[in-house]
């Protein structure tokens, strides 16, 4: 028996990992490169929809289930059969997970490439609206085109964590998600401490001058959105595996676009540790509110769900007023480390020019 408190924490970590991944991807796009991606949902939903649509179908095909069943209409039967197969086959389960995540990232990159089409041509405000709309379009397609992910009812997803059995499933899922989040954190942090991070921030600060200094803004924006969307899609894919099903309506802009924005803005744009903090504060606070829902309700004159919005909105306002650059603001990132830079400075000063 895993105690309740521990379940709470494991559950929290799983969700936190996903939002760390998504908000870090937004940090690359907005914090570093200055692209106001109000269509973060596009990549996240893209990754999740891919998981709903493809891995199960491929497995069903491999194991000959599609001869008997229609993948969408007999989804319950197909998933039952797949569950039995994957439940006893850790290797197949993990292979499916890894391959799926890689392909989801590729799908995300393609969506990022499509999103970069307006991103190259439009001014900031128009761009934000266009990206927002693109995400809504994908969601609408998922909702109305039944063959993709089951339309209104949604679809189940083959479970890569089931083989470990019972209560440990969530722990395994949380560990995998956290591991991926850590890898992505390291990647983004390495980027920010390298010349490319510097160049992205330069582009953000002044596009015209960056271009005059040899930076191909069109290409940089395109690549940024491809990388950011690939990472966002990994977040969406992991969420699909964690929750075991994908429903188009479940992917809405509040959760997968605005929340990540709040996390980045509260924590500190262009500071990965800030974003880490922002995501942690946000997810924890939310989880606590939901956890103590029934305890809180008697004290509130309104439904407790609104408390969540109220508190998070207030937190956002306070941060924006008192720390407009976030709790941990952007800091100079020294590619070679500050010590080494000071050393080189000394050496240069010692010599005559």
């Amino acid at each position: 028996m895993i105690p309740l408190a521990l379940t709470f924490i494991i559950d929290l970590l799983a969700l936190l990992g996903i939002f760390i991944i998504i908000s870090l991807s937004l940090n690359i796009e907005f914090g570093y490169a200055g692209i106001p991606n109000f269509g973060k949902l596009l990549a996240v939903a893209g990754g999740a929809f891919f998981i709903g649509a493809v891995p199960g179908r491929v497995l069903a095909y491999i194991y000959g289930l599609l001869k008997k069943y229609d993948y969408i209409d007999n989804n319950v039967e197909v998933m039952y059969a797949l569950g039995k197969i994957l439940g006893t086959n850790p290797f197949m389960s993990m292979a499916m997970l890894v391959v799926s995540l890689i392909l989801a990232a590729a799908v995300g990159a393609i969506l990022g490439f499509i999103a970069s089409y307006p991103a190259i041509r439009l001014r900031e405000d128009y761009l934000a609206i266009t990206l927002l709309a693109m995400a809504e379009i994908l969601r609408t397609i998922g909702y109305n085109y039944k063959d993709l992910i089951g339309g209104t009812v949604g679809i189940s997803v083959p479970d890569p964590f089931r083989w470990i059995g019972g209560e440990l499933r969530l722990a395994l899922a949380a560990s995998v998600i956290m591991a991926v989040a850590i890898i992505i954190f390291i990647y983004v942090e390495l980027l920010s401490r390298s010349p490319i991070g510097r160049t992205l921030r330069a582009m953000r600060d002044n596009e015209v001058v960056a271009e005059a200094y040899g930076k191909d803004i069109v290409k940089l924006r395109m690549k940024t959105l491809m990388i950011g969307s690939a990472i966002g899609a990994i977040g969406g894919a992991l969420y699909a595996f964690l929750s075991g099903s994908v429903t188009a309506l479940g992917y809405d802009r509040v959760v997968y676009t605005f929340w990540p924005w709040v996390m980045v803005v509260i924590g500190g744009a262009a500071n990965n540790f800030g974003v880490l903090l922002g995501a942690t504060l946000f997810v924890t606070l939310r989880k606590l509110i939901i956890f103590y829902k029934s305890n809180l309700q008697p004290f509130l004159p309104f439904d407790v769900v609104w408390l969540e919005y109220l508190l998070l909105g207030t937190a956002l306002l306070i941060v924006l007023i008192y720390r407009p650059e976030g709790i941990i603001p952007e800091k100079p990132t020294h590619t070679l480390g500050k010590k080494r830079l000071e050393k080189i400075k000394e050496l240069v000063e010692a010599k005559e020019v």
């Binding site: 010349p195 490319i196 160049t199 271009e211 005059a212 040899g214 952007e330 050496l347």
Partner: protein
């Protein structure tokens, strides 16, 4: 051996009804310090904007090293070895003084989304670039501010940073829009001496727009004078400065 590095043929550029350039043809010799003078609004900055690709000319052609570059995007022109500074300093505000210089270095192998992960591959280049940047900062007397975010600089310091960034570029032709504006005279002289040194040692060509003739003229090989979007005089400084049209443009109407 002194061929021309930059040539414009009849460049025309209008903004709505304002004809900023009315057929400007200039030639800049390789390894020279060539200066463009002219009263406010005569089209000097516009010419630099056209040459560097920021604006497309309505008519006329621009050649760099005998290659036509008319209408190429700025980043491609930069990669050919032509850099320009901005009259109103435009540092990358949140980047440090040092970072502003480092960004300008072309072809850093760490400037790739996956290449960035292979530190070993870009570290050497980065060290070299940092050393170069500190040398320039020392010359500009900005070295003590190296780790300061550049929005905190004074106007004059920003101007110096603008110059420093251009010197980082390894460009063959450096176009500067009023590099000495707002800089104290002693430092301004030092900077111009440095330009001459770079020209003598490395053969770098400078094309400068400058109002502070009392400082700049003595470092200059060749002068173009513009007024109302046309070149009114050219030649060595001694002859241009006594040209009646130039005197009229500056002092008269």
């Amino acid at each position: 051996m002194r061929s021309e590095i930059l040539r414009t043929d009849g460049v025309v550029k209008s903004f709505g009804g304002v004809k900023a350039l009315k057929g400007v043809s200039i030639r800049v010799k390789e390894g020279s310090i060539t200066m463009m003078i002219g009263p406010n609004g005569s089209g000097k900055t516009t010419l630099i904007n056209v040459i560097s690709g920021l604006y497309k000319p309505d008519d006329g052609k621009v050649f760099f090293n005998d290659k036509e570059i008319t209408g190429l995007p700025p980043h491609e022109i930069y990669k050919l070895g032509l850099v320009r500074t901005f009259q109103i300093p435009q540092p990358f505000m949140k980047l440090t003084v040092l970072e502003n210089l480092l960004v300008a270095y072309p072809d850093n192998p760490g400037e790739k989304f996956f290449g960035a992960l292979r530190r070993g591959k870009w570290r050497k280049v980065e060290e070299k670039v940092v050393e170069k940047a500190f040398k320039i900062l020392k010359l500009l007397k900005l070295d003590h501010l190296w780790d300061q975010q550049s929005y905190k600089l004074s106007g004059g310091q920003m101007k110096l940073l603008e110059v420093g960034r251009a010197l980082m570029s390894d460009a063959r032709l450096i176009m500067m829009d009023e590099p000495a504006a707002g800089v104290n005279p002693v430092l301004a002289h030092e900077i111009f001496r440095r330009f001459r040194e770079l020209k003598d040692k490395l053969g770098v060509t400078f094309f400068l727009v400058e109002h502070r003739l009392e400082i700049a003229l003595r470092y200059t090989d060749y002068v173009y004078a513009m007024a109302n979007g046309v070149v009114v005089a050219e030649g060595v400084p001694e002859t241009v400065m006594v040209n009646p049209q130039v005197i009229e443009a500056y002092l008269g109407g």
